[in-house]
Subunit: 384 residues, 2 copies
């Protein structure tokens, strides 16, 4: 079977945006067509990663509106929802569309418009993805994160500062990402003294609520070569669920979906943790970066915090993590986030990451839905 | 590339149901596992076709809840939304998952829970799939149907009775479907004298609002043969959009998405209209059955009504259409409907259609999203 290539990317400004979801999707979609040098008429499948345009804006059918807006009719369209990992699920769906032979040119656009709603309203929409038992008890994702962080720090004797350093690192990277919502450094003191949200986690342990869109263009490798010499190839991709009821998991510091999807992606690509040169992890909460580092084999269980303390995951470290700024500084427009992870890895691999550029031949992104309820891991490599 | 097989199906009772979406999905999912003789642990991908659980019930993440409810964790999950053709899009997504090699066993469950909301609320959720320009002017899908029907009848000099006969036929078929919402015959007089909804269309020209779920099990043909000798194969499948703004179409009696997706499915399967032995068409409104018959080449443009008048599409006719009872009598739980079309064709092909059984080696289903905004056509054949 032919390999699936990525030949173009785009990302809108993330942050508080005017307009609405259709404006954001069209902006990213058109920019990606331009970046890839692909005619809208040549798009065969158009996939939209979006969790909740109906709930946030009362508008559905956005994939069909987008097809018309960017002149891609009669391209086949579909909306992909995997909650906060809708973007990663979109990469998987787009990969499947090409690998199955259904499409020779798939444009994936992820996006969400959230900031016009209050933080409470947005948190409630997001919380509706949890199990009804938990949802009806008022459990939100931030509260899961607080409980998990407390347990992790105590059990592994990890300093509270190590979590703060994830935020500091990702903000430092975000300074160099012109599309990030927050392009500013924060120091450790600011993080550690910010208001408590879910003890022990504080405001700067959380990603913001964000509007934005991001896009990727996928096609068979033979088609890619008609357009460019500079492309990337998806060599491994897999997704997996964990118990939907979070409190039923045996060990709250192990996300089964991360482990399973990582193993699947490694096996498919023939790669292992040591082969990864750069990674985008789903740092919706700082503690999640630890859990993914461990679940993906970048660190032993309970020891991710040591690598962070040692600076190994900074941009000049052994394994740069979240060179884009992560969800933490870039922002987290639900359906866009997983696609934007793919955009960062693609741009690192083809040498288009500007001031954030690191040396990388193999990259990985991990997109977490809910509190690890479903996770997608993607391994991408520079074309050889 | 190996062919993709269907090895099991299920359908809940359609109608006004107690419980909520998760109950319906689990009921159909478990029944399909049983029908296929597949262990939940062997399901690799679990896809849920659903348009709007968030809008109808305030609950999202239903695909992850379902994985746990039917014991399929850590199967990969995704929700597929293509508005009223979410079910057909689910068949396409499930086909892609198997054809790409990503999954050797994909369970597709479509469902929607709607009847707890008022008809006005449900219609408004559905109307949110139309283009904002139309939506904000108060256009709903029934009003498009009325306008189109008036145009069709006048332009092609078709008798109003021919539309009514679609409803009469589909109700007659539904009598033999134990899962249909309305298992009762209606006579032409009842249809023609029912209350006007969108002139010239009357109550019996419309499908009802319905709760329900349906499921299909897909796998590579070589895997299918480990389970059964009685299976079907998806030999052609394609989807396509038309202008999202309905009034921009050149000819309101031609649905471009039907034509394009049909041509794609015919080309892929090497079949043509004359090869189809039985078809499920998306009769959300009676007029849609005419447009699909013509778009798919079963009748010349403007002449589908003649075949209906001649009884050719009845169960003992040349090309039985909607042997299941169609959306008209079976009901239309959005995300379930396209899957239920696939269930009917599968059951006809493997000889499990009971009192509805016709002789069929090749079947087709056509699932229409919105007012033809995106359409998926699937051709299935009995395994040889």
């Amino acid at each position: 079977m032919e390999r699936v290539a990525v030949i173009g990317s785009s990302m809108t400004q993330f942050g508080q945006r005017d307009g609405w979801i259709l404006d954001l999707l069209a902006e990213a979609g058109l920019a990606c067509l331009g970046d890839a040098g692909v005619d809208a008429a040549d798009v065969e499948h158009l996939y939209v990663s979006n969790m909740a345009s109906g709930e946030f804006e009362g508008q559905t059918g956005i994939m069909n509106a987008l097809a018309q807006d960017i002149d891609a009719t009669p391209a086949y369209t579909q909306r992909i929802d995997q909650t906060s990992s809708s973007g990663g699920a979109g990469i998987y769906a787009a990969w499947q569309s090409v690998a199955s032979g259904a499409s020779d040119m798939t444009l994936l656009v992820g996006g969400e418009k959230m900031t016009h709603r209050t933080t409470g309203e947005s948190t409630d929409v997001i919380a509706s993805l949890t199990h009804p038992v938990e949802y009806k008890q008022g459990v939100t994702l931030p509260s899961f994160a607080g409980l998990t962080a407390r347990h992790y720090l105590e059990r592994f004797d990890a300093p509270r500062e190590s979590l703060g350093k994830v935020a500091v690192k990702n903000h430092a990277n975000g300074v160099h990402n012109p599309h990030a919502q927050f392009q500013k450094e924060v120091d450790l003191e600011t993080v550690l003294e910010s208001p408590i949200v879910a003890d022990p986690l504080r405001l700067y342990d959380f990603c913001p609520i964000t509007d934005g869109s991001a896009a990727l263009m996928l096609c068979p490798e033979s088609v890619a070569q008609e357009y460019t010499d500079e492309y990337a190839v998806i060599t491994g991709i897999d997704g997996a669920t964990d118990t939907h009821v979070v409190h039923e998991r045996e060990d709250p510091t192990i996300m089964g979906g991360v482990v399973e999807s990582g193993e699947g992606a490694y096996e498919m690509s023939g790669r292992g943790p040591d082969d990864i040169d750069v990674a985008e992890l789903h740092d919706m909460f700082t503690i999640l970066e630890f859990l993914q580092m461990e679940g993906l084999g970048f660190a032993e269980h309970g020891e991710a915090w040591k690598l962070v303390e040692e600076g190994e995951t900074e941009r000049d470290g052994e394994l740069p993590i979240n060179t884009s700024g992560g969800l933490k500084s870039k922002g987290h427009p639900l359906g866009a986030s997983g696609v934007a992870q793919g955009v960062e890895i693609y741009e690192q691999l083809v040498g288009e990451a500007g001031d954030r550029q690191v040396e990388a031949e193999v990259g990985l992104c991990c997109n977490v839905g809910g509190f690890g309820n479903c996770v997608i891991t993607t391994i991408m490599e520079a074309a050889q």
